[in-house]
């Protein structure tokens, strides 16, 4: 944001012209023109983010059902009732497991991927293009591949393990609560590694080569060089990528929806899928409350992220 200050207002450079019309004068005044430029985008954001947010809070405080005009204001009753709901309790726990079971792995593997791709080798650009694909392709679609890889009958993973004599019979990947959440984590890690990889790779390209070489000449080993030279440069972008990843994992939907729909027996729901399922029961007040339970956590993460992004700027 600091660059804003460097941008000098243009009016000082311009010799006033007596003959100019309103429109030309209007354009001179940066603040009026700025707000005019912001207006169309802000209108969309207000109509489809700010308004639904406020409306969502209102719905969550009522006993509204889809298709019924009558609704009563019941204050925090929906929120209170959810605290006693065993599925909701499991949802909160799953979301936590889903975050803790994926983000550290995505970070570690992504860092590894970035360190690999930062080396010079033949066809490195081609590899880079391919290795980003899991993050580019629609998640709903790549999840279909995992749906088959984790299928009780068709899974090639079961086939290999059976062939090697490690397991007898097919593995019930998605039908068992524990297996299901592990499977979800694996698919989530797969999708998220390239994001970390590419973000950290961009940071690595700012690491000065000569500093690394100087440290090597001074006898620093690879780990010492990484901590002293590389890490300070990539620290900020790594933190930013991690915060983004936590937010996205926390608020995920597609992967769980495609692979388990929250099942078996509601054991793998996260906020998004449980809210969607509740909407399906037309209990829109409760559904809105489930979604809004995410808000405090999201707000905290967003504020931290904003501070890092600004420092980076």
């Amino acid at each position: 944001m600091s660059t804003l200050q460097e941008t000098r207002p243009s009016e000082r450079l311009i010799v006033p012209d007596v003959q100019e019309g309103f429109w030309t004068r209007f354009q001179r005044r940066e603040s009026s023109l700025a707000w005019l430029f912001l207006a169309p985008g802000l209108l969309i954001l207000i109509l489809f983010i700010a308004y639904p947010f406020a409306y969502g809070i209102y719905i969550s405080l009522t006993d509204a059902f889809v298709g019924f005009a009558e609704r009563n204001f019941i204050w925090l009753e929906n929120y209170r009732r959810l605290l006693d709901d065993p599925i909701f309790q499991k949802t909160v726990r799953n979301t936590f497991v889903y975050g803790v079971g994926t983000v550290p792995f995505k970070l570690a593997l992504g860092l590894g991927l970035a360190l690999v791709l930062n080396q010079t080798f033949r066809f490195s650009r081609l590899y880079r293009a391919f290795l980003l694909l899991p993050w580019i392709v629609p998640t709903a679609i790549s999840s279909l591949a995992f749906l088959m890889l984790f299928n009780g009958v068709m899974s090639p993973i079961s086939w290999v393990l059976e062939d090697w004599g490690i397991v007898s019979g097919s593995i019930n990947f998605l039908g068992d609560p524990i297996n299901a959440i592990v499977s979800l984590c694996v698919a989530n890690i797969w999708r998220g590694v390239p994001f970390f990889g590419i973000s950290i790779l961009a940071g690595l390209q700012a690491v000065p080569d000569d500093l690394n070489e100087a440290a090597a000449l001074d006898g620093a080993n690879a780990w010492q060089r990484f901590m002293a030279v590389t890490w300070p440069v990539i620290r900020n972008i790594t933190l930013i990528a991690t915060l983004f990843s936590i937010i996205w994992t926390f608020a995920d939907f597609q992967l769980v929806y495609v692979l388990t729909k929250g099942g078996p027996a509601n054991s793998t729901h996260i906020f998004g899928t449980y809210s969607y399922q509740t909407l399906g029961y037309t209990d829109i007040g409760t559904a809105a409350a489930i979604s809004l339970y995410m808000f405090p956590m999201l707000a905290v993460l967003a504020v931290i992220l904003l501070r890092y992004v600004r420092r980076d700027d």
Partner: protein, 283 residues
């Protein structure tokens, strides 16, 4: 010297080829699997004596089934309309926002930049419930407009921050020269800044396209009746059946549904990578 050479080669194996192979196998395997299943005849697929990782014969039946017996073409059309429409809307709004935030100094500018950034962090799962009501109230339910208007809520913040950064890299002197020569702000913007910003605008457009193509939850809730589904939603809700004969066509749909974004991004890989990290750090 020979010793040093072999050490270097061994360390290169450890630091490069081994992990690279691991990442290629781990990250590419699901795509490989989708591709071979989509080309495999059902008899081979269900024959448990064959190695499932290999192709013994090739068929295009699963692909032709998609075009003749499913609404896949219609889903593709729907997705194109929605994605292109929301991208154009978001891009035009974002060019102005990015320019205003990147160039003008005005009261509330910094705050607006921060607020727009925060909008990017609002996940669809937080707002889809009230939005579904609002979309219905506006009479947009199950129309293209439901997504053309709602996708910009995450496209505008992203594209605005990207373009804001891009506009700042363009020397302001050029514009000042034009202003001194009597051009208005808008003329200077149109004739000087926009042509120079074209690469940035293009990569912002590509991002918007891929983000729009990939969106799932809003499409599932606002536009999933009849033949109005998008590709991700249609494939997930319509092609999964109760028997075991759907895998081939499902994987074929997965391959075809990924092609537009894969192509869009392959043309701009380098832009994409620099832009994504600009996005990652700036919005």
């Amino acid at each position: 010297m020979a010793m040093v050479g072999s050490n270097v080669r061994r360390s290169r194996w450890l630091s490069l080829y081994l992990p690279l192979t691991f990442f290629m196998v781990f990250l590419m395997f699901p795509f490989y699997w989708m591709l071979i299943v989509s080309l495999k005849p059902n008899t081979d697929l269900l024959n448990m004596d064959l190695n499932p990782f290999l192709l013994y014969s090739i068929t295009l039946d699963h692909y032709s089934y998609l075009f003749t017996d499913t609404a896949f073409m219609r889903y593709t059309l729907n997705t194109f309309v929605v994605t292109v429409g929301s991208t154009l809307l978001a891009l035009s709004a974002s060019i102005f926002i990015g320019y205003a935030l990147g160039r003008f100094r005005f009261r509330g500018g910094t705050l607006m930049g921060a607020l727009i950034f925060l909008c990017y962090l609002v996940p669809p799962t937080l707002l889809f419930i009230p939005l579904s009501q609002i979309v219905a109230d506006f009479g947009l339910y199950n129309t293209y407009w439901s997504l053309i208007f709602t996708y910009p809520t995450f496209l505008i913040p992203f594209a605005s921050w990207l373009l804001m950064g891009y506009f700042r890299t363009i020397a302001i002197d050029l514009e000042h020269a034009a202003l001194v020569d009597g051009a208005t702000r808008l003329q200077a913007m149109r004739h000087i800044v926009l042509p120079l910003a074209m690469p940035g605008i293009l990569s912002a457009g590509i991002f918007c396209f891929t983000l729009g193509w990939n969106e799932f939850l809003y499409a599932l809730v606002f536009m999933s009746s009849g033949d109005m589904k998008t590709v991700p939603v249609g494939v997930v809700t319509d092609l999964i059946r109760a028997d075991v004969y759907f895998w081939g066509s499902l994987m074929a749909a997965g391959i075809l549904g990924s092609v537009p974004v894969a192509v869009a991004y392959s043309f701009f890989v380098d832009n994409y990578i620099s832009g994504m990290t600009a996005g990652a750090t700036k919005g």
